[in-house]
């Protein structure tokens, strides 16, 4: 469609665009007379050299030229005045409207008929061409509006785009007024728009009736603007205001109507996208909540079961147990209390996480910064492990949540330390490729059995090495958090010489992230 309209424009514009605007009223009539007068003078000058009917041909030329250049009225005016001028100046007897030769009467009548017909035909041709040109340009404007609005992602984008395109279309100052939540017109219109009381009423009426209100509606004394309501799902969202002089004809009215509809479609799309994104965020939060709840319930119940079991055993059967069994139960109670304390501390962290869970993507965070903070915390938690950090000089700003990320990374590092025999050596690295930032955590432990590898992110899965220490949830929470941030977590093992495990976290770079999320930020 675009191409065809452009093509039409090309073939018609060169000639017709060079023409002046068609004239109307006295200007057209006067110009017709002037053309005739000039032609008469020219003919008088060259008449001795002209054949008998040459003069009539020159007059016809003037009529057609006038009609094409200045419109049908000018052509007709030229035709009638040429009829008289030809009779008066060139037919015998000259300088009189009398005609001596009866043959000349016929010639003159034919001349009048031909002049009037060609003048009006040429004028009509001009009008048709003008209309086609107007239609083509209004279609082009609509195309431009549609293209612009379809890429708009916020209400303001739509308002701004529509204002500019409509202003261009009416070669004046169009404006877009927003509507308040209760459906009333917002009292503050754009600053460069001054509206009278009548204008305000007209605007309000367009919202109530959901129909365009024109400057001169019947029973309406009129305002200085035409108002096109932009209605999205039965609710008036905004009003397109066009100066009265720009909506004089049906074609431009239809164009502005279409622009308003275009804007409504764009606004509806934006609101649907926002809804979709809300639903998605809620689902993310829900998934995270479920993972956290299982974690909490398991992590707290296990040590409690051990403590309760050990305490009741001591109380009820302690007298029948050997001394070392009693001592071991007491140690077990102490260890489990410490474990419980750690989980509760974790839980408090998690509660904070949970509070922020719905806003996983709300912040811009520095990945390198978080990784190094996580390594510092992991070193405090596990002073015997050697944890090396290489952040190179990658500058990685991503959308995410610092607390959640720190939790995930510390968890993974802790797992790696637990998976290593004796003194653990852990390497933490950040790298990047064109699509993603990557954090890798490598250990030199005995690795993960191939049959276990697919399950390590499953809830409550614990490998033989970590079985006695972990809760079986660290990596599950990690996976949930990474998912919520649009990233991934994966494991490889063995990585070198049949040993070691590498856990890789990937974070999409911000532009990729917004593409993946369907353009929602």
């Amino acid at each position: 469609m675009n191409v065809r309209e452009d093509g039409l424009e090309e073939t018609t514009s060169n000639f017709w665009d060079s023409l002046p605007q068609p004239l109307s009223g006295f200007a057209a009539l006067g110009l017709g007379l002037l053309l005739t007068a000039l032609t008469t003078i020219a003919c008088l000058g060259v008449v001795p050299w002209l054949p008998a009917h040459g003069v009539a041909m020159l007059f016809l030329l003037a009529v057609v030229g006038g009609a094409v250049a200045f419109g049908m009225l000018c052509g007709l005016s030229a035709a009638v005045s040429a009829f008289f001028a030809y009779n008066y100046f060139f037919l015998q007897p000259v300088s009189s409207f009398a005609i001596s030769d009866p043959g000349d009467v016929i010639s003159l009548a034919v001349f009048l008929g031909v002049a009037a017909a060609s003048g009006s035909l040429a004028g009509r041709l001009r009008e048709v061409a003008d209309r086609a040109r107007a239609r083509s340009s209004s279609l082009q404007r609509l195309n431009a509006v549609a293209a612009r609005l379809s890429s708009a992602s916020t209400f303001s984008d739509v308002v701004e785009g529509l204002t500019q395109e409509a202003s261009t279309a009416c070669s004046g100052s169009a404006a877009v007024m927003r509507c308040a939540a209760d459906g009333a017109v917002e009292p503050q219109a754009p600053a460069d728009l001054s509206l009278s009381t009548a204008d305000w009423q007209a605007a309000q009426r367009s919202l109530v009736t959901r129909q365009a209100v024109y400057p001169a509606s019947p029973g309406w004394q009129g305002s200085a603007f035409a108002f096109y309501p932009i209605v999205v799902r039965e609710k008036g969202e905004a009003i397109l205001c066009i100066p009265a002089e720009a909506v004089a004809d049906n074609a431009s009215d239809a164009m502005f109507c279409a622009m308003a509809r275009n804007a409504a479609v764009a606004l509806e799309r934006i609101s649907l996208e926002a809804e979709k994104s809300t639903v998605r965020k809620e689902a993310e939060a829900e998934r995270l909540r479920a993972a956290l709840l299982s974690s909490v319930s398991h992590d707290i119940k296990t040590p409690l079961a051990s403590i309760q079991g050990a305490v009741t055993s001591l109380r009820e059967l302690g007298s029948q147990m050997p001394e070392e069994a009693r001592a071991d139960l007491l140690i077990a109670i102490q260890e489990e209390s410490e474990r419980l304390l750690r989980f509760v501390t974790n839980l408090l962290d998690m509660t904070r996480l949970q509070a922020g869970a719905s806003g996983v993507l709300e912040d811009w965070v520095d990945l390198g910064d978080i990784v190094s903070a996580s390594v510092v915390r992991a070193r405090q938690l596990m002073p015997r492990a050697r944890i090396d950090l290489d952040t190179s000089s990658v500058s990685a700003i991503i959308r995410g949540n610092e607390t959640l990320l720190e939790h995930v990374i510390v968890n993974v590092v802790e797992n790696s330390v637990n998976a290593s025999d004796g003194d653990a050596e852990i390497d933490v690295k950040i790298s990047e490729n064109p699509e993603v930032y990557r954090v890798t955590i490598e250990d030199g432990g005995s690795g993960i059995a191939p049959e276990d590898l697919p399950q390590i992110f499953d809830k409550f899965f614990r490998g033989p090495e970590t079985a006695r220490r972990g809760s079986g949830l660290g990596l599950t929470i990690g996976r949930e958090v990474m998912r919520a941030m649009g990233g991934t977590i994966s494991a490889e093992s063995p990585i070198a010489g049949g040993r070691g495990t590498r856990i890789t976290l990937t974070f999409p770079k911000p532009d990729q992230a917004s593409e993946n999320a369907g353009g929602q930020i």
Partner: protein, 231 residues
Amino acid sequence: MSILPKVLVVDDEPQIQRFLKPSLTASGFAVVSAATAAEALRAFASTAPDIVILDLGLPDADGKTVIDAIRRGSAVPIIVLSARDREAEKIEALDLGADDYLNKPFGIGELLARVRSALRRSVGHGAPEPSELSIGGIAVDLPRHQVTKRGAVVHLTPKEFDLLSLLMRHAGKVITHRQLLHDVWGPANVSDSQYLRVFIGQLRAKLEDNPAEPRLILTEPGVGYRCADPH
């Protein structure tokens, strides 16, 4: 000297094993421990325990597969350990043939009581069916279809009688809603638990001293019913 009864404890949590072992030993049991389903089945085959205590959350396989495997060749009592909020898991385990369950966390006394009760039932297993069951003043004369409460005859409908004798025959053992419905009303009615609620209510009204605080027919919330253990 009599041979100590053997207990197979299957739990992947070392802390649970840590107190179960000395407690059971001190209570006069020989303890065999296993941390995974595979280990459990190996230990079961090689030691032939008298009772199995089984945690349902095992790292290598679902604990229910262990019940299934044991039940194919043995009627040994199985007591499952599970979290309170996992009713479905417990019901499945009981329907697969587990004898009892215990919610974690639990006290050692409770576990030992369940173990002893299950062992008693298991010793009685295979003995000729008694013609009269009696618990706490309630006596059921099976051949005559007659129930007495402290000597006075109580009139029960045939379904009430079936339900009561089923529960009393397995005194101390949890019976799931599904098992009760299946055995009393037949396989087509296993999901009509409203029948069961009504009949249990009627039985309690006729037999309990205070039906609001039953002492004979006990509710195991979300799982089933249990007739009080006479011991």
